[in-house]
């Protein structure tokens, strides 16, 4: 059924570690976007809002990480109550807090470590691709907040095409350089 997938637009948040300055604006924006209050101080200190995106450093680079919304998502498979599910074939993996029992199987199963519990430890929270913002025609909060454009909401197929073109250009440049030597 792969030909069907080719035709469907699957958008994911794509990070460019080369651009990320580790300012953590995305973390603050993410927490605020998922809080009841629209005031940062209220959201963080009164509500205890937490981000669903994580800035980690490795190998001298800073990498923003958030849910990849895996096609065969381990978190969905291990969830005993069906609290994690995907609406439709290509939508984001969503956490339904009312079904969540806080067993943390998903936290352990996630290969990226981007699922966490709420501060009270009762239910899990994770990236929802800001579906509510997207429904209003807005970009995900982290993407909108990034001051250097290190995050983008991209069509996966288009992103792959871009990567191929870039790889082809690199190969072409290398072989051209070789032929000129």
């Amino acid at each position: 059924m792969n030909h069907l997938r080719e035709e469907t637009t699957v958008k994911r948040i794509v990070a460019d570690p080369g651009k990320c300055l580790a300012c953590r604006a995305c973390e603050l924006a993410c927490a605020l976007a998922h809080a009841d209050s629209d005031d940062l101080v209220q959201a963080i200190f009164a509500e205890g809002a937490k981000p669903r995106i994580y800035i980690e450093s490795a190998g001298g680079l800073t990498v923003p990480l958030q849910c990849r919304h895996c096609e065969d998502a381990p978190c969905v498979r291990v969830c005993p109550t069906g609290a994690l599910s995907r609406p439709g074939e290509t939508g984001p993996v969503l956490a339904h807090q009312e079904k969540c029992i806080g067993c943390e199987f998903c936290v352990q199963a996630c290969p990226f470590g981007v699922i966490r519990l709420t501060p009270d430890g009762k239910v899990v929270i994770k990236c929802d691709l800001c579906i509510r913002r997207q429904a209003e025609g807005l970009e995900p909060a982290c993407v909108a907040a990034c001051p250097v454009g290190a995050l983008a909401l991209e069509d996966v197929a288009e992103g792959a095409k871009k990567a191929r073109v870039k790889a082809a250009a690199d190969v072409a440049a290398a072989s051209l350089a070789q032929s000129l030597e």
Binding site: C23, A25, L28, A29, A31, L32, L40, V41, F45, P51
Partner: protein, 650 residues
């Protein structure tokens, strides 16, 4: 076009913003949009760049790093950052003050082509206060000694600032107990920068007390000296009528806009613009005259001394150029957008920078030195006259919006307007408060900030205060906002003031809102409070007076310094946008609670201007109750809270 949020309540400003949109010219509001979202760490005050093991920041979610590389916690980082802001604000006001004193020295020595002693009464009063002998000496000789003495205050190494003696005893005691007595103006700024250096002061409360000391060196030092010496050099202001808003620009005259802060230049420009030779030159180019108007505080300075109209406040600086009718915009220091020079690409306006301290890319730099003030002023006016010929009439758009105002109230003038020429006194003011005809006095000051609907907070707050019988005194861009809103006229008392305040305004013939000058002139509010204390009956120290202060649309480091010196002097201060301290619960508590113990006053943060006015009135009512003063004489819309409600509100 997408329906956009209203950006101003001022009709002239709204009109010019629409013009900017049509012309696709970017203004501060657009640049603010482009900055969204602004950095949360900066807002919370939890980033530290004081050493380069960092930059460090504290994780506000409480999970990541809770201390910098050196171990500094959020409390220490937030407090240090605030002290740096206070030091910068103090430096700005005080460096301004220094220039004025240097100009006085030149005038005293006869070394200037422009400066004379125009406030001899104030000169003599200051000489007596500071113990400078007047026997058989000319004003110039007295002025020279005064200038030397005051210059000494900047570099003072021993003892304390002379003006500390102007404060009531209780304030002096508070400062001594908190180690917050300001010693030397420059010294406090230097010490502040030392304390915030890596690994020096690492206790939040101690850092905040240092910020009080630094700010006091501004309020009772740099700013107060700037005010006093400006009065000596340029004359003591007296109430006068003038006009405000972009409509004061003239289509058929050479328009020169002065923008910035130091009256050393603007005051000389006023004199030069009246030069018959220059007028003739302007007329030869087809202009009917030379029209001078101001933006920001340099405008307030020449308004209150010469009645020069004000073109607008802080957020109108770009819009003024967009009228296409400004031939020269003359800038010196503070609050000048680097963006103003960009507008030269679309309009014929020449931006001329004048301060040896401040250059702008794209501006014409004609450096101003006090020794040749008049010569430079004339040179600048000639540039404007020449540039008038290049004005493109098709681009001229002057909004037909202007408003009358009365300005020029000072600590000294209040004696006379209230007490009369023969028995100048604060008695009637204190009496008004004691009887409850006046509920209290509020200072509403400060900037514009595009995060707030332009001018709206100033107007809403001041209207709420005066309709509740609180007399309002104003400086800076806040005064300009309310002037544009028509509140600086005696007629405004009838329309907007409560009955008690209206009775007083009617009896004395004053507006319900008094313009007391520029932002350094906030020091006038301190000296006026000292007069109220000295007159007696409404509290023997600042913290007992039924008074409060506010800066609803503040944006500058200078505003932080001003707020801090008022709080440290015992005056409750509420500001619109919170200080960048909310990343530390301890610092918030210190500023909004513990400072009461040290200084008898606290900070409060309240973005809603009417709610903020109510906080001020609650405070005033509490002070009235503490003094045993009666409730307001007449019924007021915002009634005093019952004792129980006050207790419940803390």
């Amino acid at each position: 076009m997408v329906e956009r949020k209203l950006r101003s309540v001022d009709p002239a400003t709204i009109q010019m913003i629409e013009l900017a949109d049509r012309a696709e010219v970017r203004t501060a509001w657009d640049r603010l949009d482009a900055q969204q979202p602004q950095c949360g760490f900066g807002r919370l005050g939890i980033c530290c760049r004081n050493c380069f093991m960092g930059p460090c920041r504290i994780d506000p979610f409480g999970e990541g790093a809770q201390e910098g590389v050196c171990g500094a916690t959020a409390d220490v980082i937030v407090a240090r950052n605030l002290l740096k802001d206070v030091a910068a604000g103090t430096a700005a006001h005080s460096d301004h003050g220094r220039e004025i004193v240097r100009a006085l020295l030149l005038a005293a020595k006869g070394k200037s082509d422009a400066y004379k002693i125009r406030g001899p009464v104030k000169l003599r009063a200051l000489a007596d206060e500071y113990g400078i002998s007047r026997d058989g000496r000319s004003d110039e000789q007295i002025a020279e000694e005064l200038a030397q003495l005051l210059l000494g205050e900047f570099g003072k190494q021993e003892g304390m600032l002379a003006n500390v003696a102007r404060a009531p005893e209780q304030q002096q005691k508070n400062w001594a107990a908190a180690d917050a007595v300001p010693r030397g103006i420059d010294r406090e700024v230097v010490t502040a920068m030392h304390l915030t250096n890596m690994g020096v002061d690492n206790e939040a409360e101690h850092i905040l007390l240092a910020s009080a000391r630094t700010a006091l060196a501004d309020g009772w030092g740099g700013s107060m000296i700037a005010t006093d010496v400006s009065d000596v050099l340029f004359g003591q202001p007296h109430p006068l009528r003038s006009r405000v808003n972009l409509g004061v620009l003239k289509e058929d005259e050479v328009n020169i806009l002065v923008h910035g802060h130091e009256p050393t230049l603007s005051d000389v420009i006023v004199a030069a613009a009246r030069d018959p030779e220059l007028l003739a030159e302007a007329q030869a180019r087809g202009a009917k005259g030379i029209n001078l108007a101001g933006i920001c505080c340099t405008a307030n300075e020449i308004l209150m001394r010469h009645g020069i109209p004000i073109a607008g406040n802080f957020l109108q600086q770009e819009l003024a150029v967009m009228t296409g009718a400004v031939d020269v915009m003359l800038v010196d220091v503070q609050c000048v957008f680097p963006a103003v020079t960009e507008f030269q690409k679309c309009f014929h306006t020449k931006v001329i920078s004048t301060s040896p301290k401040a250059k702008f890319v794209g501006a014409t730099h004609i450096e101003f030195h006090e020794e040749h003030a008049m010569e430079t002023a004339k040179q600048i006016i000639r540039v404007a006259i020449e540039n008038y010929s290049r004005r493109d009439p098709s681009k001229v758009n002057i909004p037909a919006v202007e408003q009358k105002l009365v300005a020029g109230f000072t600590t000294e003038v209040v004696h006379q307007i209230l007490g009369g020429r023969y028995r100048p006194s604060y008695r009637p003011l204190n009496d008004g408060i004691q009887t409850g005809r006046l509920r209290g006095v509020a200072g509403v000051v400060g900037c514009n900030n595009p995060k707030f609907l332009h001018d709206q907070s100033h107007l809403a707050m001041v209207k709420e205060l005066i309709r509740n019988d609180v007399l309002v005194v104003q400086t800076g861009c806040s005064a300009i906002a309310c002037a544009k809103g028509g509140l600086l006229t005696p007629e405004a008392a009838k329309e907007h003031a409560g009955r008690g305040l209206w009775e007083i305004c009617r009896a004395v013939g004053i507006p319900p809102v008094l313009h007391v000058g520029s932002c350094v002139d906030n020091s006038r509010i301190l000296t006026a409070c000292a007069e109220m204390v000295a007159e007696g009956g409404i509290g023997d120290s600042f913290d007992k007076l039924p008074v409060a202060g506010a800066a609803p649309e503040w944006m500058s480091e200078k505003a932080i310094a001003i707020g801090m010196y008022f709080v440290a002097s015992g005056v409750f201060v509420v500001i619109g946008q919170p200080l960048p301290v909310e990343g530390s619960r301890q610092v918030v508590d210190l500023l909004t609670r513990t400072f009461e113990k040290h200084f008898g006053a606290t900070w409060a943060f309240q973005p809603d201007p009417v709610k903020a006015a109510h906080l001020m009135i609650d405070h005033i009512d509490r002070k009235r109750a503490d003094l045993g003063l009666p409730p307001p004489m007449y019924e007021v819309p915002y009634a005093p809270k019952t004792v129980e409600a006050v207790a419940a509100a803390g």
